[in-house]
């Protein structure tokens, strides 16, 4: 393993120092417990939107702190959910009378730690709700698993609820919107190469030259299925089919298409895949009305991509187009 790091145990804090230096106009970083808040937090009379999770998925979540998106992000150690006290610190720094919505990706650790933090906040008379995002169609949605993972849909969810909170929606409305988004967003991911967790020092899985992990998560956990490497056309068709058939999305739907690089896949391939996905959706009569292309929810240096589809309507379009000003997502300002 080669990485540009010092002590693996200090990698998150040292990286946050760089983030703080680079974006002092947008974010403020506190350490131990680590949390990142808007430079102007707490914002009066606004529902706070807070998310977090293990580090290693950047820019998610720390890169999305700022006006129109997150009030705070809580980065845990690499691939490890943050602890309740860290989440609680982020809540304290951002949450007032209008309350807060916690955006929680559906992993056992995240759910348990954020749940505990919400309980602690309730004990201090703060109105804190959680929404759990579980958009990964690779995992069978049954009681015989920990449930579906939260993946690419998280980025869209954070943008949309951030915009709703920014325009002044109350906590009930923000929460309802969040649940609606969760209900109509679906994702699938593939990996061509594994990530390497700094403290582990070894690639998270071993993948032969001719193999692809289909249905990969974002933590280097192996995918659901290992398939032979195939052309971009065939692979993207397989991904589009998995996502479209799940919700299902159908002819006449308007969608946001989010083509995400898992980190190590360069723009050339990400755009190439995006172009194929646009064509395949058009073939199915599904109209792409908004798009996001790039590395927004990653798994360290893992090579691969994910596709996320969100069914759009006028309200979601308006919220998507609303101004956002964060280190890694910025428009309208």
């Amino acid at each position: 393993m080669k990485k540009i790091i010092n002590d693996p145990a200090a990698v998150v804090a040292e990286s946050l120092r760089g983030l703080a230096a680079a974006h002092a106009d947008l974010v403020r970083v506190a350490y131990d417990p680590d949390h990142v808040v808007r430079a102007d937090a707490p914002v009066a009379d606004k529902v706070a939107v807070i998310s977090g999770g293990g580090s290693g998925h950047e820019p998610l979540h720390t890169g999305f702190v700022g006006a129109g998106m997150l009030d705070a992000a809580v980065p845990g150690p690499v691939f490890t959910s943050p602890t309740p006290d860290a989440v609680q610190a982020a809540i304290s720094a951002t949450t007032g009378q209008p309350g807060a919505l916690l955006v929680v990706k559906n992993y056992t650790g995240d759910v348990l730690n954020f749940e505990t933090a919400a309980e602690l906040a309730a004990a201090e008379d703060l109105d804190v709700r959680s929404v759990v995002i579980d958009d990964d169609v690779a995992v069978a949605d049954s009681t015989f698993t920990a449930g579906r993972r939260g993946v690419g849909g998280t980025v869209l969810l954070e943008k949309l609820v951030g915009a709703a909170a920014a325009r002044g929606d109350g906590l009930d409305a923000v929460e309802t919107l969040a649940r609606r988004v969760v209900g109509q967003v679906r994702s699938i991911g593939v990996a061509l190469s594994p990530p390497t967790v700094p403290h582990a020092g070894e690639p998270s899985f071993d993948l032969g030259e001719g193999e692809i992990e289909f249905g990969i998560g974002i933590h280097g956990e192996p995918g659901r299925e290992r398939i032979p490497a195939e052309s971009a056309d065939a692979l993207v068709e397989r991904m589009v089919a998995a996502v479209v058939e799940d919700l299902p999305f159908g002819e006449g739907d308007d969608v946001l298409l989010f083509t995400n690089s898992m980190g190590g896949t360069p723009p050339m391939e990400t755009y190439l895949a995006h172009g194929i996905a646009e064509r395949l959706l058009a073939d199915r009569g599904i109209r792409v009305t908004r798009r996001l292309v790039g590395p927004y929810i990653t798994s360290l240096e893992m090579q691969g991509i994910s596709l996320t589809l969100l069914r759009m309507d006028d309200e979601l379009t308006e919220l998507w187009d609303a101004p956002v000003h964060t280190p890694s997502l910025r428009w309208g300002v």
Partner: protein, 213 residues
């Protein structure tokens, strides 16, 4: 003083230190188990947590075994993170609560503490035996502990029985399809691997038992 007979806060702290030592020693192994079917952090997480527990205990020892376990619980909750943090944290917290403010522990207290720990883990994580989680180690461990206690065993014997059963329970996860935690995403591909959390539970109980002898 041999064994845990009449064991006080200091002895409980010693037992915890032995647990911390075993976690440090087996850190790489636990990472490796988690790398195979999870996200390669279990050993790192637990080691970070137990190191903090030991530091906390070095800072001054509370008066009762329950209070010692409570320090361990809150430290684990605020240092481990992931799934294991809340689960182990809850286990220690429930055990601490069960022990109340008794100043010394007998075999019955040890068995009851373990039962409370298990109940806490199940309440939080909703896993059943056979889901391939730490419950697969802890549940048989508690049963064995209670049997040893009702057979008249001392605290050390209770912990030894628990450790033996936990080891067997951890091994039993190898052929299972995981149904909780991160390994469940793998479906049948989780078969053939020991669960990291079950393994760490067995290692901890073994260290506790040996330290208690």
């Amino acid at each position: 003083m041999g064994g845990l007979m009449g064991c006080n806060a200091e002895r409980v702290a010693e037992v915890l230190r032995a647990g911390g030592a075993t976690v440090a020693e087996h850190k790489a192994e636990l990472i490796e188990l988690d790398r195979a079917i999870g996200d390669a952090d279990h050993g790192e997480n637990l080691d970070r947590g137990f190191a903090a527990v030991l530091t906390a205990l070095d800072g001054g020892l509370p008066e009762t075994p329950g209070a010692v376990l409570k320090v361990a619980a809150t430290t684990l909750i605020s240092k481990v993170g992931g799934a294991a943090g809340p689960l182990y944290g809850t286990a220690f917290l429930r055990a601490a609560t069960k022990l109340g403010d008794a100043s010394e522990l007998d075999a019955a207290a040890v068995a009851a503490g373990l039962r409370a720990a298990l109940d806490g883990v199940v309440a939080r994580g909703k896993a059943e035996v056979g889901d391939a989680t730490m419950v697969d180690a802890l549940a048989p461990a508690v049963d064995a502990a209670e049997r040893a206690q009702s057979d008249g065993g001392d605290p050390a014997a209770v912990l030894a029985a628990a450790a033996d059963a936990a080891k067997e329970g951890a091994d039993s996860t190898v052929p299972l399809t995981a149904r909780k935690g991160r390994a469940s995403y793998l479906g049948e591909r989780s078969v053939g691997h020991a669960d990291p959390g079950a393994t760490s539970t067995a290692l901890l109980l073994r260290a506790f038992a040996e330290s208690a002898r």
